[in-house]
């Protein structure tokens, strides 16, 4: 088993956060995993991305040039990383703020999801990242939605039931959205 993903967006979009969640979940499922963040030059609000590698063997490189899957939360990230995605790779795009016409749908397994809108509809505009992660989980087999949910529960325990539930709804909405599209 081997899987990897680059998750990219603006600093404030929480890409690091979902990368972390994913890494935790993979670890809980007993895989070897690495999580590698890359910050931009700007103090805050710059671009950011992270790479998560999941494997049942020892993980060699935590850095991937040609990822198998990709989650892009904004336009510059699509421009930068799409060309490096492997053919047929999974490409989750936050279509709320990314120009759909730039997505090479024929080349990749693209999931266009209006993550910001879905999150806004849930009344939690900051949870677009969870929506996108949910969509990604729908497209791969290795990491289970349930594990991620459990990780969310653990991580947010101290912040109260409500926050936990909101995050889980966002995840699920993304997951369901992608499932529907795929079916």
């Amino acid at each position: 088993m081997y899987q990897d993903v680059i998750i990219a967006g603006f600093g404030g979009q929480g890409v690091m956060f979902i990368g972390n969640l994913l890494a935790y979940a993979a670890m809980e499922q007993g895989f070897n995993v690495t999580y590698m963040p890359v910050y931009g030059v700007e103090m805050r609000g710059g671009t950011a991305n992270c790479t998560v590698v999941i494997s049942d063997e020892e993980v060699g490189s935590p850095i991937i040039f040609y990822p198998k899957t990709l989650i892009v939360m904004n336009q510059p990230s699509l421009d930068k990383f799409q060309p490096r995605l492997v053919p047929e790779g999974i490409l989750v795009v936050n279509s709320s703020i990314v120009d759909e016409s730039k997505v090479e749908k024929e080349k990749f397994n693209a999931i266009l999801i209006p993550a910001n809108h879905i999150a806004d509809n849930l009344g939690e505009s900051r949870m677009a990242n969870m929506v996108a992660l949910g969509a990604w989980l729908a497209a791969i087999d290795e990491v289970k939605l349930e594990t991620v949910e459990e990780v969310v529960r653990n991580q947010f325990k101290s912040k109260g039931e409500e926050i936990v539930n909101k995050n889980i709804s966002a995840l699920r909405r993304g997951y369901e959205f992608a499932m529907e599209k795929a079916s």
Partner: protein, 251 residues
């Protein structure tokens, strides 16, 4: 509509590149950069100024202020400025430093530079925290303030007391001008402008070392909104770091 003649009453200073900054929302560095640039314009120093940059959130100062610039290692801007000024006494030499840079690692350099009475001007930005590296304690962190390296709040027992640089520098013989100002409101901005000019004059009139300490907000590492951070400058910082002129022998 009747014809009216319109005059631009606020524009950005000439020597400030008209580009977006990399600073966080509500960070005072942006205001202070502009005030420095205005003073350079006011004395027409653009062509003879040499800026000594330092390491901290202001590290890109040379991308904003369009004058010849050299980058100093963390804390060493006063020594680099000394080297530049001794090499080119006719240049106008100024440095811009944060509180980690100037009051922690670079304390010796700033004191000796001031004490030698080097004819240079130092802009010192005190935001009571290390901005660039992620909010660690600075020598100016207030007692009780939580930072990433004082998670339980700065305690005088373990970390000692916030250093009052404007007073310390002002007490040195070689210093011609030392003041502490803020940019949290218009009144203070006006005073700050005057202070920068005085510090510059100390150099231009060959009187000695000029020093202006700015109390500055770092909303990001204070974990406050820009408005709250702006308010904290007044409520908490000024209480410990009084604004004022601590030395002035320029005129």
């Amino acid at each position: 509509m009747t014809k009216v003649s319109e005059k631009q009453v606020f524009s950005m200073p000439k020597c400030l590149n008209d580009v977006p900054t990399h600073f966080c929302p509500g960070c005072h560095h942006g205001i202070i950069h502009r005030l420095v640039a205005e003073a350079i314009d006011a004395f027409q120093l653009e062509d003879k100024a040499i800026c000594v940059g330092s390491v901290g959130c202001s590290v890109f100062i040379y991308n904003y202020i369009d004058v010849d610039s050299v980058e100093a290692p963390h804390g060493r801007a006063p020594a680099v400025a000394t080297g530049v000024k001794r090499a080119r006494p006719d240049a106008f030499v100024f440095a811009y430093q944060g509180d980690g840079d100037l009051a922690a690692i670079g304390l010796s350099e700033i004191i000796h530079c001031a004490n030698r009475g080097e004819k240079v001007s130092i802009i010192f930005v005190n935001n009571s925290v290390y901005g660039m590296t992620g909010g660690q304690m600075a020598p100016t962190t207030l007692v009780g303030q939580k930072t990433t390296t004082t998670p339980y709040g700065r305690s005088p027992q373990n970390e000692g007391y916030p250093l009052k640089m404007a007073e310390l520098i002002g007490s040195l013989e070689g210093c011609a001008f030392s003041a502490r100002v803020a940019v949290n409101n218009i009144k203070n901005i006006i005073k700050a402008k005057k202070a920068i000019k005085k510090a510059f004059l100390a150099q231009l009139k060959n009187k000695g070392f000029g020093f202006v300490e700015f109390l500055s907000a770092c909303p990001t590492n204070w974990h406050l909104t820009p408005l709250e951070a702006n308010k904290r400058v007044e409520t908490e910082m000024m209480a410990y770091f009084p604004l004022g002129i601590y030395k002035d022998i320029v005129e």
